[in-house]
Structure formats: C-alpha cells, structure tokens
C-alpha cells in the first residue's frame, strides 16, 4: 500500500483498531464485574471496587501498599519481568495458531504439540548425564528435540488433511489427547520424577537438576541464559527465552510475507484450487504448514521447560495445557499477524499479572481476570466483525467497483466456528 491512504483506512490500522476495541470492551466489562461484585459483597465496597478497577488496568505498575494502606504505584521490575516470562511460551503457541490460520488451517492441536515438546525437551535435558556434553549443547539439543517432536506431532493431522481430507480440527483434538496420555505414560515409567523434594508428588525435576552418578543433583543441570535481563527486571523469572521467542515471531513474519514459501502457503490457504491450478503442491504445503505450526508450539514448551525455574506436573492425562489453547485467542486478537502476536501475548500475560496483584492486594481473587480474558477471547473472535464494521464506516473502498463482488465479507477470515476453512474440496 504505497498509495497515500488516510491512516485509518489502511487494512493494518483497522485490524489494530479492532483488536484494541475488543480489549477495551473486555477491560470495561471486567471493571463492571469488579464494581458489581464490590458493591454486592459485604467485605468489599465502593472503595475496594475502585482499587480493584485500578489494579486491573494498572496492576503491572502496582508496587503494593504504602504505610497508610493506600495502593502505591511505580516501576515494578518483577511484575514486568514475570509478564514477559509468561508471554514467552504464549508467543510461540500464538505464532503456531496464527501461521496455520494463514494457510487456511485451524491448529487446535497446539496443546498436544506443546506437550510433545515438553516431553522431548525434558527427556533430553534430564536424560543426558551432567558433564557428558557442554551445557549449552545439551540446551540446544533439548530445544531442537522439542521442535522436532512437535513438528512430527503436527505432521499427523497435516497428513490426514492433505491425503485423506480429514478435517484438521478433529484430527488435532484426537492427537491432543493421545499426546496427553502418551506423555503421562512416558513420564510415569521414567526416572525423571522428582523424588528429592518429597513434599511434591507427580512433578518432574527442573532442568537445573543434573544426573550425577545416577542421582539428580540440584544445580548440575541446565537453564536458559538470563542474558542480563534479570538485572533489568530484578526478582523476576525472566530469561533470554523471550528474545528467542521474539526472534521466532520476526522469522515467521519474514517467512510468510517475504519468501516464495510463504507465498505458496498463503496461496494454498486462501484458494487451494487456484494454488493447484498454478502448479503449487497443495498437499505438500498443508503438511509443511502443520509441521511448522507443531514445531512452533513445541518450541514454546522447550523455552518454558528449559528455563530451569519451572516444574512440570507430569500427570496430564486429564487436562491439556492452557498455554496451548491460549495460543488461539492470542493469534485471533493479533489478526494472525506474527508481529502482532508478540504484543497480544504480552497483553494476555499482563492480565494474569494484574490478576495476581488483585489477589495479593485486595479481597478480590484473580479469577476475575479470567472473566476479562474470556470476554476478550469472545470479542477477539468478533474482532474481524468489528473490523468489517469499521470498514463499513470508515471507507467503502471495497465497493468502488460497482460490479465487484458483493460487500458480503466472504473473504474475511471467519470466526472460530468457520475457521476450519478450505476443506470443502
């Protein structure tokens, strides 16, 4: 778009505006919920409600309560660092969903791919005896192993879709549960189960534990380099993984927008028939798209597990990791733009930090932020509708050509229910 278009009429600006609008409505709804709960509750009241509302919007910059009992505000490195740490795997699962979506596939299999990445990264990190290889190499092997495992896991629904025309949503849901049970089984017969800290059951060693003479010793293992970020955000969990995640986002953006490969993927995504007609192998691209999406999800798991300060509850056969599913709202809110995913993932993490602050500082509990997130998730599916609505109001460029396709937004990527896309072939 090198034409001199007013800013607000640009496709991108409209997308951003639509997403911001969803967020604003979600936050407003959250504020309303806090107000209602506050006024209705005996323990709370208008004063607490006002505190709660301020924490929802600015929890990131809350520094606790002062001597007078009033909320204090300022730069809170721990909050910001933790926010970025939580955003790290979300960026990856968000990228996974966004990238598949642009290829016309709805990757609801991110949780399963994430679990496979968890299994592979932990098994490699904990399986190689301490000192057998240099620590950075072990880290790299574990990270790449995670990507590979996720890629293979993503390839299954991809191949089913490409060769047997089985809807990828169904295949993904099934592979998710297969992964959950498989991972549980693998860990339950492994010797990675944490037996040192006896207060915990069903947890796997952190990767900071290393295998020394057949025993796991704290500090002998590996952890992602902090890259100095712990100095900037003292007291937080942050490490260099966030930078890796951002690099991945930029990489996916470049791949989708600048390369012939991305062009092929998008052509298959928006019109499989035309892609075939043009000699592009649609089957190959569907499989590859799911392979990459799976790899991205699993890379998120790798980054999270290899941080060294996270523990994995291995008995997952009853529930799938929320980080995987949260990739969907992250991607939708970003209108599937890889760069946008960075920001929406950080935003989602900010909400959960705000929720923690709410729990710590007021009588509210953090679940109120789940309500906000839920509203935003609903609205993010609508953000495309909002975008269209903005489009109708702000410009009617689409209708310039009187004989063009009707204004009915066939082209707009659809809401979640329709998002399976492109399998009517």
């Amino acid at each position: 778009m090198n034409q001199k278009e007013p800013l607000l009429q640009r496709e991108g600006a409209k997308s951003v505006l639509a997403s911001l609008l969803s967020i604003a409505i979600g936050l407003a709804f959250g504020a309303l919920a806090i107000l209602v709960v506050g006024l209705a509750s005996r323990d709370l009241g208008a004063g607490s409600a006002w505190e709660g509302i301020r924490l929802i919007f600015g929890g990131l910059f809350s520094t606790g309560r002062g001597a007078s009992g009033a909320l204090t505000w300022g730069f809170n490195g721990q909050n910001i660092g933790n926010m970025l740490f939580r955003a790290m795997p979300l960026i990856m699962t968000g990228l996974s969903v966004a990238m598949a979506y642009k290829t016309g596939l709805f990757n609801i299999g991110a949780p399963g791919q994430y679990l496979m990445g968890t299994l592979a990264s932990l098994a490699i990190a904990l399986g190689i005896p301490s000192g057998a290889l240099p620590k950075p190499l072990i880290w790299l092997l574990a990270f790449c192993g995670a990507i590979l495992a996720g890629a293979i896991w993503g390839a299954i629904p991809g191949a089913l879709k490409a060769f047997l025309n089985i809807n990828e949503v169904i295949a993904c849901i099934m592979t998710n549960w297969i992964a959950a049970n498989f991972v549980t089984w693998m860990f339950s017969i492994s010797n990675f189960k944490n037996v040192v800290e006896n207060t915990k059951s069903s947890y796997i060693y952190k990767t900071t534990y290393g295998l020394v003479d057949g025993k796991y010793v704290s500090g002998a293992g590996i952890a992602t380099s902090k890259m100095g970020l712990d100095k900037v955000f003292p007291g937080s969990q942050i490490n260099g993984g966030i930078l890796i995640a951002i690099l991945f986002a930029i990489g996916v953006y470049v791949m989708m927008e600048k390369t012939t490969f991305g062009y092929e993927l998008k052509a298959c995504g928006s019109n499989r028939h035309a892609a075939r007609y043009a000699g592009i192998s649609d089957r190959r691209n569907i499989v590859l798209s799911m392979v990459i999406a799976g790899g991205l999800s699993a890379a998120g798991a790798g980054l999270y597990c290899l941080s060294g300060n996270t523990e994995f509850f291995w008995s997952t056969y009853q529930s799938l990791p929320a980080i995987g599913f949260n990739g969907i709202p992250v991607a939708l809110l970003a209108v599937c733009n890889p760069i946008g995913v960075i920001f929406t993932a950080i935003f989602m993490s900010m909400l959960s930090i705000s929720g923690l602050q709410l729990t710590n500082l007021t009588a509210y509990n953090e679940y109120i932020t789940d309500v906000i997130i839920a509203v935003i998730v609903y609205l993010s599916a609508f953000s495309l509708v909002i975008k269209m609505w903005l489009g109708r109001r702000k410009d009617k460029v689409g209708a310039v050509d009187a004989n063009a396709e009707p204004l009915v937004p066939k082209s707009e990527p659809k809401t979640v229910s329709e998002a399976k896309g492109g399998d009517e072939a």
């Binding site: 778009m1 090198n2 034409q3 600048k258 390369t259 012939t260 490969f261 062009y263 092929e264 998008k266 052509a267 928006s270 019109n271 028939h273 035309a274 892609a275 075939r276 007609y277 043009a278 000699g279 592009i280 192998s281 410009d395 009617k396 460029v397 689409g398 209708a399 310039v400 050509d401 009187a402 004989n403 063009a404 396709e405 082209s411």
Partner: protein
C-alpha cells in the same frame, strides 16, 4: 436525458438516481422508466453501474439522490423485504438457493404459509407451485435437492420463487450467462409470456443477440452514466454496442487464414474418469492442435469439455491414452511440469484463475514466483514483481482501483479475466488452453480477448479453445471439434458449416466416423 413524461403507464420509475462510493460515482443521475408489460433491457459494460442500479431498486443500497416511484407514487425501498412487498422480484446472476433444501422448500422459504400452530402448510404450497409450474411450462422436480439439479432448473426455481410471491416486476440479472442455447430459448419464451400477461421485466444483459430478440426497449449505461433509451425495433446491434462502449466496436473477429505449422499438442485415445458417474467423462478422445491455429472444442456444457481440460492440464488424473506436448510425453507430468509448455486460461476464474484475496500483482506471478527474476534465495523480489505487474497492467490495460496492490476480489469480472489473460499470454508458452475465455464479459472485453487470441495464433501459438458460445466458436476457430457425451463426434470447418449443422452435432443427432478425426 430522456424526457420525463408523467404517464401512468410506468410501473416503476427510477428518477435521477445517484449512488456514490468513495472515489467513484457508480450511478450518476440515472433515470430508468419501466412500462407495464414491457421487457426492458439494461445494457452496459462490466462496471457500468447496472448491478448497482438494480441493487438500489432491490433495496440493497440507498441512493444519495433521486427517487423511486411505483405507479407514479414515491416509494422508499430500504431493504429487499420492502422490494418484495412492492412486488419486485429478482433472479440474481449467482442464484440464492439453499443447496441442501428441496426445490419446494427453496421456493417457499421466507414466504411460508403456516397453520394455527406455526406448522407449515406444504401441501397448499405444493399445489400453488405446481399450478404455476404447469401454467408457464417451468419444469422442476419439487422434491429434488437443489444441489442435484442442473443450473437451468435452478434458474427455473428462482423464477418460480418470484411467481410464488406474486411479484409483478421481475428483474433478471444476466440470466443467460449460465444456460445452454436451448435453455436460453426457453427462457426467452417464458419472459415473453410474462410480458403478455402484464408483468414487467427488467433484463440485465450485455448479449446483444438476446436483447434484440426479446426486449421492447433498451436503456444503455456507460461508466455510471445514462446514455439513452431506444426501442429495439429502431436500432441494431452495432448501434447498441457503440452506445455501450462509446466507440465503434468490431463485432466480427477479423483474422487471416491460419497457417498451421507442426503438431504442438497430440492427444491419443485419451480418457478421463468422471467424478459423477462410473463412465468416463472423456472417452477415447484423439486430436491434434498445430502451431498457428485455433482449434475449438464445441459442445453443450457438461459433455466432458471441463474434464478434458482438467486431464490435459494435470488437474485431474487420466485413465487411458497419452498426451504429447511439443514432442514430449506429458501424460504423467505434474501440473507444474506441464506448465513449462502450456498456458491455461481456466473456466472458473474465481475458483482456479485467481486467489481473490491476493493482490493483483501477487496474482500475476501465480505460476512464476519461483522464477529467478522474481526471487533470490527464496525471498520474493518485490520490486521485480511490482515492475512486472505494472508492465502487464499497462500492456493489457487491466483496470483496477489501486493498480498492482488492488485486491483481486474488488476488481470487475472483465478486468479479472483480463488479468488472467495477461498472465497466461505473457508466459509465452507454445500451447494456450482457453476455456470460455469470454464468459460473462461485455462486447468491449470480448473484442479485446478475441483479438489477443488471434494475435497469439498469428505469432505461432497453438490454441485450444473450449467454448459454449456458438458465435464465438464460428468466428474464432480454424477447426471445430464437437464433443458429445465425452467423445468427439465431429470435426467441422467453420467456413463450410453453419450454426444449424453444428447444433445437430452438439445435440448428438449427428456424428461422423471416428477414424476421420485422428
């Protein structure tokens, strides 16, 4: 500007309608007056504003200026329900039917008669529809699902929908684009029958033959402006097309005799299986196309032409015979490899020809983006793509709102087709397969595309044309092969045959020995 008389004869008047979209006046002070019981044709090129005007009448758009009158009284039409209440019905170019519903369900949908508790009174509806169907000879199978019936029957369902709602003003938006010659004749007869009964018909078309055959008066639009209204009795095709395009148009293709060279495409005993039935859609077909000639596959839609092209281009697998292109056996090549010597203007420009959500420039390199000139180490050279697109746009006069970055979806049908022609012709391959390249286009665009194909022929290309339009077949081709039920039943010389004989072959009433073809 037509004189506005206050005659009560006008059932619908659209006076000084102006409808603007940012940057363009789709309708600029247009006046259209429809008499009771007449067939009034609305003629104009793609993008002239016909559809916008009809959308205004049907309540889909609100005009900025002007008013609509019915029987002399001003009416407001805010949505299609208002239009229906005023007795205005429309058969859209792309039918608005629920594919998985039966014909009867589709007809009554939205106008259901119900009993006391809201139960459908289908038996009553069925009687009414049957009566209408018999009265006008509109044969439909009321219990068939719409997805299973032919396009022609789907159109009859749409017409019955209007009749069921007792509409007296009937709008037909390019109704013949999808019909076979026989079906077109039936439709014309039906339209005339309606007019005799006092129904008024607005007939949108850019096919001059049909307008001359059926319409009483013609209003012509050009680039959003009203050009004039004439009686068909007082005009002729040439005058109408000049009015429509704004310059003298060549209605007949001028070309020299072909000077065919060597065989470019040789098809031997070629068969392609059908997706619908167990027989082959294309059965044991053999023919050749030589350099410097246009060979046309004629036939009624659905006789295997589509499958033949799918088989030749590699989009479908063949199950017998061989295809030789430029001396190379390509029977088992991938689509991509076949593309090395073959350009293909596909039948369905929205399904195959374009990625509608891509920009024009992205569409123009749909097959070529991997070529070294457009990419370096896998990274697309955006500058090169832009430059190439600009050259094609200029050279082939592809018009669009924002040039290379226009979304293909927002372009008019004619320009979409031009973009495909530009892309395929510019690939400069020895064989061009063109399937209904002028379908749904106006005379200006048809003239252009025909001249392009003839120019390519004269440059020594072999051209395989598949067409359903008899005029096109007769005027453009150097040799005609007629396909009937998956087989080639005759080879004709357009100079020595006529439309009647061609029609007999197409209908399967006449065929010659196959040995004469190879």
């Amino acid at each position: 500007m037509a004189a506005l008389d206050n005659s009560q004869d006008y059932v619908i008047e659209m006076l000084h309608i102006t409808k603007e979209f940012p940057g363009i006046k789709a309708n600029d002070d247009i006046t259209l007056q429809l008499r009771r019981g007449e067939i009034h044709a609305l003629l104009g090129e793609n993008g002239a504003g016909k559809s916008t005007l009809m959308s205004v009448l049907f309540g889909l758009y609100q005009p900025e200026q002007g008013e609509i009158r019915k029987n002399g009284e001003r009416v407001l039409i805010n949505n299609p329900n208002d239009a229906t209440a005023l007795g205005i019905g429309m058969v859209h170019q792309h039918f608005k039917l629920v594919e998985v519903f039966t014909v009867l369900d589709n007809i009554i949908l939205g106008a259901e008669t119900t009993g006391a508790l809201g139960f459908l009174k289908k038996a009553e509806a069925r009687k009414k529809v049957q009566a209408l169907s018999e009265k006008y000879g509109l044969k439909v199978d009321l219990d068939a699902k719409v997805e299973d019936i032919t396009v022609g029957m789907q159109q009859r369902v749409e017409i019955l929908k209007m009749l069921y709602r007792d509409n007296e003003i009937l709008i037909f938006d390019e109704p013949t684009a999808v019909l076979t010659p026989q079906e077109i004749e039936e439709l014309m007869a039906t339209m005339k029958e309606f007019a005799r009964e006092g129904k008024s018909i607005l007939f949108i078309s850019h096919k001059l033959n049909e307008i001359m055959a059926v319409a009483d008066r013609v209003s012509v639009l050009r680039k959003g402006k009203y050009v004039g209204t004439v009686n068909t009795a007082d005009t002729n095709k040439q005058e109408l097309s000049n009015m429509m395009v704004g310059r003298p148009v060549q209605l007949v293709v001028t070309k020299d005799d072909a000077r065919p060279g060597e065989d470019v495409l040789r098809v031997e005993h070629f068969s392609v299986p059908s997706h619908v039935h167990k027989r082959n859609a294309v059965n044991d077909v053999s023919f050749t196309v030589r350099a410097g000639e246009i060979v046309c596959i004629a036939g009624i839609d659905g006789n295997g032409q589509t499958e033949l092209v799918y088989g030749l281009s590699g989009m479908d697998k063949s199950n017998g015979g061989s295809v030789t292109l430029c001396g190379e056996d390509i029977t088992h090549y991938s689509i991509h490899r076949r593309g090395g010597n073959m350009s293909h203007i596909p039948e369905d420009r929205h399904k195959h020809g374009l990625v509608l959500d891509f920009t024009l420039e992205q569409n123009l390199v749909l097959q070529r983006f991997r070529e070294p000139q457009f990419q370096h180490a896998g990274f697309i050279d955006e500058g090169a793509v832009r430059g190439y697109a600009q050259r094609l746009i200029e050279q082939y006069d592809v018009r669009s709102g924002q040039g290379p970055v226009t979304k293909a979806r927002s372009m008019s049908g004619g320009n979409q087709q031009k973009a495909i022609i530009a892309r395929e012709v510019d690939r400069d391959k020895p064989l061009i397969i063109a399937v209904q390249p002028t379908r749904g286009l106006d005379v200006g665009a048809i003239e252009y595309i025909h001249s392009q194909l003839v120019a390519e022929r004269d440059r020594g290309k072999a051209i395989l044309l598949v067409s359903l339009e008899l005029d096109e077949v007769m005027s453009l081709s150097d040799r005609i092969l007629v396909m009937y039920e998956g087989e080639i039943v005759g080879e004709l010389d357009p100079k020595k045959t006529n439309v009647q004989e061609l029609g007999l072959y197409m209908a399967g009433a006449k065929r010659e020995g196959k040995e004469a073809l190879a």
